[in-house]
Amino acid sequence: MLELNEVFETNAMISGENLDVRTITMGISLLDCCDSNLNALCDKIYNKITTCAENLVTVGDEIGLEYGIPVVNKRVSVTPIAIIGSSACKTSDDFVMIAQTLEKAALKVGVNFIGGYSALVQKGMTKADEMLIRSIPRALACTDHICSSISLASTKTGIDMDAVKLMGTIIKETAVETKDNDSIGCAKLVVFCNPTDDNPFMAGAFHGITETDCVINVGVSGPGVVKTAISKVKGENFEVLCETIKKTAFKVTRVGQLVAKEASKRLDVPFGIIDLSLAPTPAVGDSIADIIQEMGMERVGAPGTTAALAILNDQVKKGGIMASSYVGGLSGAFIPVSEDSSMAEAAEIGALTLEKLEAMTCVCSVGLDMIAIPGDTPDSTISGIIADEMAIGMVNQKTTAVRLIPVIGKKAGDHAEFGGLLGSAVIMPVNKYGCLDFIDRGGRIPAPVHSFKN
């Protein structure tokens, strides 16, 4: 029989520590929509999404009400559009038309994002891939609910440096297209090394081609819960610290598992995975930086931060894996700067630098995320930052990503305001020395050796 204190512990997590289910993401395969006629393709895409996801939002809200846990976002991810549009699209404008179709479908079903305006080019770009990539600035400027992700590298294939070079330019163009809103288009655009096919979190969600027709993936959250738990073991040794994080991650993930199973049952769609990631929001007390600081760092970014993040990431996985048999997606700790108020504060006072963030990405589940940089940063420098991050992911056999926002018209020390869950942040300085000749070489960086590891 349940105890009074257990019930109140759960409810304190929800009401006082921001425990929520961050997203129910329905993955929808669009492979059966392929058509060489663009209008027919768009009709099929619209019909498939609006049929599969018709009840997604209602069911998400119902579950939230009945279990008393907020289900914050309801989203859709689709098969990478570069594949789906490859026979119908003859120009970049054709791809923009698909983006507009996706936008219409998003509005119809009431989801807050559709992810999958994507191309997987880790070994090379097809004509369609390149057209989709070149369409991104316009596609993201003329839609509000579409997220784009490009896979540029993997441990098995190496890094496609032609695509890395192109993306440096595309990120800048996307920034220019949305310059009136602090270049917010770039918040919906991410590049990956080793992306996962079942990630429910935006902006990187897409429905991989090896996935089933329609699937429910759930992303949990709860940095505030972890922080509160750690605050109760102040001064204790690392064993106690790790045990505390693990137990808390278990509890958080169990809630996600329940919501995922229930959504899968009510929508009659198979359950895919739970993504364990601790995802912050700009709300006070919903911060990864606060966890790091609670562990003993004066500010996130201080020496010791990488070790603390490594502990957090690993213990979250250990606790979460026990709680659900199907764990997938990114599953770790996110370290976006603007979306985490304490992270943004640390950047503001100079405790957290771009270089330290890069080091932190070696041990966390994503990468350089939601970082505002000066609007006049050269394209090649953006490509250089991407190449560094792709190399970290490639060599360490992990997912890494880059979501940079060159804020047009602003310089280091100015502020960018993205609003809502995207938050706000100070613009971080970027190393002023260039890498143009390196980026201009073109071609591919070969895959690393998979033996002789030392």
Binding site: L2, E3, F8, E9, E62, R254, L258
Partner: protein, 90 residues
């Protein structure tokens, strides 16, 4: 059996539990278990109830409990039992 957990928090005074129980009696909700503590002047109460004879929807239950809560100056929530079982039992 459709087991649901009712939680109530607020400033203690006479008649709070009576008001909640009256509502349950009027709506065919059977109470399976009640526990409560009072810390200083605040009451924390949990009930396990069975909704199998309850004729309205869960949404209406939540709205009704809000109204009862407003009358007695407490916050009253209903949640399916599973969320607590999942979190606290392996």
């Amino acid at each position: 059996m459709n087991r649901t957990i009712i939680t109530l928090v607020g400033k203690d005074h006479t008649g709070i539990i009576a008001a909640v129980c009256n509502y349950f009696a009027e709506n065919n909700i059977n109470i399976l278990d009640i526990s409560q503590t009072t810390v200083q002047e605040y009451i924390n109460m949990m009930m396990i109830v069975d909704l199998s004879e309850f004729k309205k929807s869960f949404q209406e239950l939540a709205e009704d409990l809000n109204k009862v809560g407003e009358k007695v100056g407490c916050s009253i929530k209903a949640q399916h039992e599973e969320i607590f079982d999942m979190m606290h039992r392996i």
